[in-house]
């Protein structure tokens, strides 16, 4: 394998590519008129460069190939999970561009068609890779793009069904393809470089112009040099690491031809730790994440960081749970369980159910309904005092009112004649009696309130001993091992109201044009919820069985106690009323 790697620069992408090809000795050194060329282009997501391929580079490449006059040019867009290849090409105007050069676009179906697979007839391959920062291997490059020679279903089959390791599977698939030994030219286009969190999080990414294009016939050499160019350890890339281990690459023998004047600008790499991604109200609880889950979770978080940038302010507190055995979230609000391993390992977690026994006090137009939290001891006494406060205030007011009247009468009595004096004295006594009767009535109410509150809390405490659980409806499960592409977004749209996630809705409506979102089966979800609910009720019933009869007798006891207390209280009240009346009559 030729170990020459070239780094070329130019004032525009066309110039950079032409300079690079000249340094390699011209494209004619690689292609001949008889060749049937396949160009794999980076169209991971069909957004503009550098989220996807730089059209100018492709244009310049096609123009060079046309000059040689090869027998056939075919273009395969390497797309992510769920993206329609033809629609993606069309939306970027690439269909017209490639037609201008007599090239045709092909899909994965055409490439591996059972009757006449195109891959068998291809004599040369050009892998045109757009460089971006990536959470897995820090940079996307040729070895990253080569995985896209396989259709998405094949790429993920072993990982999601047979639970193979994502990174190993990816490396293996690339090596398998390389075994075909089709001569390939690898172009790492970093004229524009997308930095930050990649093509899904525009509010945290930045496009940087480096003016450089790196190319070679050797995939290992070109990627090794690309990593070194940006100050990275090439062994972060597992393909390069494996190649080094298997002596497939001899670093010393790389013949580097560089025609570079500009220094590389500083680059911000992707976030690799999910918990470092901050969004209003969001807490991330992650357990053990394998590389596939970590990758999918990061892509999901990057997307929602952009698409829920404004909408997250409408949710309050919310959480995302991912990985195997994650911590049980402390919040009981909206919870998203991401991926199969999180769904399975959190089936018995506390957040799945909410208790209905802790009834909340409802304040309706100033009237408080319900018991609220069950209290005991000092706290209960405090609550009683608070409740009694209004009646005590009434006693004070009554005392003040009547004392005032009596004092006024006293003053009048001193200045009046004898007849009037006796009248006034009589009135004074009446007022005193009224006052004492009223205060006695209020005292009775205070005591009655006390007995009622104590009984209420005792009853509530007994009720609380019974299990009364219900499923937490604010839990959303996003299935998948791992959930792929933009599929998880569709689940969010059924979880929140339309107006709450208006940006996400708009994005989904637009991207439906080229992305096939999975069908969200509401009926199926409702049915599984019903099953879970029934199961829960069954468990609840069984656990509550021995408690029910015991609770009944305790409740009766409390009620009897309350009745007798109230009876005694009423008797005392009546006695007191009689005594007061007697005293004044």
């Amino acid at each position: 394998m030729n170990n020459t790697v070239v780094i070329a620069e130019g004032n525009n992408a066309t110039e950079s590519l032409n300079n690079g090809l000249n340094l390699l000795g011209g494209l004619s050194k690689f292609l001949s008129k008889e060749d049937r060329v396949l160009i794999l282009i980076d169209l991971q997501c069909p957004f503009t460069c550098p989220s996807s391929i730089n059209q100018e580079t492709l244009n310049a490449l096609l123009s060079n190939i046309k000059l040689i006059g090869v027998s056939k040019i075919q273009i395969l867009p390497g797309v992510m999970w769920g993206v329609d290849q033809r629609k993606a090409l069309k939306s970027l105007g690439l269909e017209d561009l490639i037609q201008n050069y007599g090239a045709t676009s092909i899909t994965y179906e055409d490439l591996y068609k059972f009757s006449a697979p195109i891959i068998e007839s291809v004599t040369k391959i050009i892998c045109l890779s757009q460089i971006r920062t990536d959470p897995l291997w820090k940079l996307t490059c040729s070895s990253f793009l080569m995985w896209y020679f396989n259709p998405p279903k094949k790429r993920w089959k072993n990982i999601s069904i047979y639970k193979k390791k994502y990174e190993d599977e990816r490396v293996q698939q690339v090596f398998e393809f390389l075994e075909r030994k089709i001569p390939t030219l690898y172009i790492n286009d970093c004229y524009f470089l997308l930095t930050g969190n990649g093509p899904f999080a525009w509010n945290t990414t930045k496009s940087v112009k480096t003016n450089k294009i790196i190319m070679s016939n050797n995939i290992m050499a070109v990627d090794w040099i690309t990593y070194e160019q940006f100050g990275l350890d090439p062994t972060i890339n597992l393909i390069l690491k494996k190649a080094l281990e298997q002596n497939l690459i001899d670093i010393k023998s790389i013949n580097l031809k560089s025609q570079v004047q500009n220094k590389n600008p500083s680059i911000k790499f992707s976030e690799t730790e999910p918990t470092n991604i901050i969004l209003e109200g969001l807490t991330i609880y992650s357990g053990e994440l394998n590389s596939g889950e970590r990758y999918a979770l990061l892509q999901f978080l990057f997307m929602i960081k952009n698409l829920l940038f404004k909408d997250s302010s409408n949710f309050g507190n919310w959480a995302i749970i991912a990985g195997k055995n994650p911590p049980d979230p402390e919040i009981s609000s909206d919870i998203i369980v991401f991926g199969d391993s999180a769904i399975k390992s959190t089936k018995k977690y506390n957040f799945r159910t909410i208790s209905e026994t802790a009834s909340e006090m409802i304040n309706l137009m100033g009237f408080e309904i319900g018991v609220g939290e069950t209290l005991e001891g000092d706290e209960l006494e405090k609550a009683i005092l608070i409740k009694q406060r209004k009646i005590r205030q009434k006693i004070d007011r009554t005392r003040k009112k009547y004392s005032g009247l009596i004092a006024t009468l006293d003053n009048i009595v001193q200045e009046s004649d004898v007849d009037a004096k006796s009248d006034k004295e009589e009135t004074k006594l009446k007022l005193q009696m009224k006052m004492e009767l009223k205060i006695d009535k209020y005292q009775y109410k205070i005591e009655k309130l006390r007995f009622n509150i104590i009984a209420k809390h005792k009853k509530q405490a007994i009720k609380n001993k019974l299990l009364d659980l219900t499923l937490n409806k604010r839990v959303l499960e996003i299935p998948g091992n791992p959930p792929l592409g933009w599929d998880p977004l569709i689940f969010l749209t059924y979880f929140w109201q339309n107006k709450q996630i208006s940006t996400l809705n708009l994005f989904i409506q637009i991207s439906r044009e080229f992305y096939s979102f999975p069908r969200f089966n509401k009926g199926k979800i409702r049915a599984s919820l019903k099953i879970d609910k029934n199961k829960l009720k069954k468990i609840e019933k069984e656990k509550n069985k021995p408690l029910i009869s015991k609770n009944k007798s305790e409740m009766k006891k409390i009620e009897n106690e309350l009745k007798s207390n109230l009876k005694n209280l009423t008797l005392n009240f009546k006695k007191n009323t009689k005594r007061i009346k007697k005293k004044f009559v």
Partner: protein, 547 residues
């Protein structure tokens, strides 16, 4: 001498100076009128005084005592004027200094800091004034300014007020970039407007303002500036017609400021203006907030970085949504009425300008445009009255072309394409289309606007430089959108909000707007019912916590 334009301008300035001097001595403004020099706008001394104090920091530093050296073509000082100001910072006196009395400075006139230091000491000794600014003004610059003034006011009526400002700006940029017009300390505003020249090829303020002027709809309105915390109000009646824009100064009567009634001064001014001018658009701006916004813009580096640009957008949106504080209007559109908005909410339209999500709109717009439109690369924008006619033998109408070079979702460079180059490209495309056409039906079916744009893109990429996308914008659409956003949406009309729907309708019609490649965002706008689309995007633009 008195009849020359220069003398006219000088007289205008002297009248203002004497008014300001009168106020400095008597602490009271005389109710006399004046004209803004070079702009020939009527104004009263009091308003000019406060307007000057608010705007001066944009141009020069706060110590406004300054010395001006007028230099001829051979860099010889031909005139020297010392401008003295009062404590507030308003000029009160202009003293002509004889040149032979100036201290000798052998240094080059470009070394403004050295000259400033020498003259600073000399002026302090001789006139007991601490100078804050030094300005070196070429005589040719003054002559250019005067000739522009004469050009626009030769018949007494100004037919191109905005164009005149554009020409003044171009002259400033020209002399500043030639290092002939110099200020020390540097002027933030002049520095800012001079920087664009480097990043935008064939850049001209005159051309931009002229284009903008052509898009302005016919209207009558009053604009009032609230100066110095309400101590003065400056009102103009503005009549925009196809031919000219006229500014009529409206003196605010004294009874408005009497404290007998409880209503706000702004309300009384609106009432007075509505009666006096009979206008449906009456606006009041707090000049302090406007200068704050301008400061935000002019303190930015050129080219403006993405984060800074988003911040500026947020500040402008925040300014707009805070109606009642930095600006106000009367009559207010129905959308500001809570009862009316309640019904609109029930119909599912979350429109509330007061709750405009100023903090998220710029970021989200930037994200969506970067995703679907252009994050990097060159975009060709062609504008004209009619879509270029390339399918038959008729003559091609005149169109303008601009290349917008983007990086990181920001415009890096704008290049005006020469008319001849563009015509050549269009002719080639036209010939190709006519050569390949086999019949009228074929033409209609194959040569859609999108395919024509695709062919222009290919031809342009081959002949001039590669462009990733091409956009057609009709002049009619631009002026209609400006009219809707500035006027129609702000009318006191129950259906004013519906006018927003028309904007989306324009994007749906190819004769107004066309783009190649047709990205998915455009397809969405094109294919969905405009009213439904508006309904789906209003929650994005509005903070929802309301009723």
């Amino acid at each position: 001498m008195n009849d020359t334009p220069m003398a006219e301008i000088w007289n205008d300035w002297n009248r203002i100076l004497s008014g300001a001097q009168g106020f400095t001595i008597n602490k009271k403004f005389l109710n006399i009128g004046a004209k803004v020099p070079l702009l020939s706008l009527d104004i009263d001394i009091k308003s000019f005084y406060f307007l000057w104090l608010e705007l001066y920091p944009l141009f020069m530093n706060s110590n406004s005592n300054s010395i001006e050296l007028i230099v001829d073509d051979s860099d010889n000082i031909s005139n020297c004027i010392l401008h003295k100001s009062n404590k507030d910072g308003m000029y009160t006196e202009a003293i002509k200094i004889e040149i032979d009395k100036l201290p000798n400075f052998t240094t080059n006139l470009r070394n403004v800091d050295e000259i400033y230091n020498i003259l600073g000491v000399w002026v302090k000794q001789r006139y007991n004034v601490d100078i804050g600014n030094l300005r070196i003004i070429p005589l040719a610059f003054i002559n250019d300014f005067v000739s522009i003034y004469v050009k626009y006011f030769k018949s007494g009526i100004n037919y191109g007020f905005f164009e005149m400002i554009g020409e003044y700006f171009d002259v400033i940029v020209k002399y500043r970039n030639q290092q002939m017009l110099l200020c020390y300390p540097p002027s933030p505003f002049f520095d800012f407007i001079s920087k664009f020249d480097e990043y935008f090829l064939n850049f001209s303020y005159f051309a931009i303002i002229k284009a903008f002027r052509s898009y302005l709809p016919k209207s009558k309105m009053t604009i009032t500036f609230r100066l110095k915390d309400g101590s003065a109000f400056l009102s103009y009646f503005i009549n925009i017609s196809q031919l000219r824009i006229s500014f009529e100064f409206i003196p605010i009567p004294d009874y408005i400021f009497s404290k007998n009634t409880s209503s706000k001064i702004e309300d009384k001014i609106f009432k007075f203006l509505k009666k006096d001018c009979n206008t449906k658009h009456n606006l009041i701006f707090q000049i302090e907030d406007i200068t704050e916004l301008i400061f935000e813009v002019i303190n930015s580096q050129i080219p403006i970085q993405k984060d800074r640009f988003l911040l500026i957008e947020e500040k402008f949106l925040n300014f707009y949504r805070n109606i009642g504080i930095p600006w106000d209007m009367d009559p207010k559109p129905y959308i500001y009425n809570n009862n009316f908005r309640f019904w609109i909410y029930l119909l599912g339209f979350y429109i509330n300008p007061r709750k405009l999500s100023f903090w998220s709109i710029p970021t989200l717009l930037q994200s969506f445009l970067s995703m679907f439109f252009s994050l990097t690369g060159d975009t060709l924008i062609i504008t004209g009255n009619k879509f270029p006619n390339l399918t038959d033998t008729k003559k091609i109408d005149k169109i303008n072309g601009f290349i917008f070079s983007m990086n990181d979702g920001m415009i890096e460079k704008i290049q005006n394409i020469q008319d001849s180059e563009l015509q050549k490209i269009l002719e080639t495309v036209k010939n190709k289309i006519l050569d390949h056409s086999e019949g009228d039906n074929y033409k209609k079916s194959k040569n859609t606007r999108s395919s024509i744009l695709s062919q222009i893109r290919t031809e342009f990429s081959d002949k001039i430089s590669f462009i990733s996308s091409i956009v057609w914008l009709s002049n009619d659409m631009i002026s209609k959108i400006i009219s809707i956003l500035l006027l129609d949406f702000h009318r006191h009309n129950r259906f004013a909000g519906r006018k927003l729907v028309r904007i989306f309708r324009f994007f749906r019609k190819n004769r107004y707007f066309s783009v190649f490649p047709e990205n998915h965002l455009y397809k969405k706008v094109k294919n969905q019912n405009s009213l439904q689309f508006l309904k789906s995007i209003t929650p994005i633009f509005t903070d929802l916590h309301e009723f």
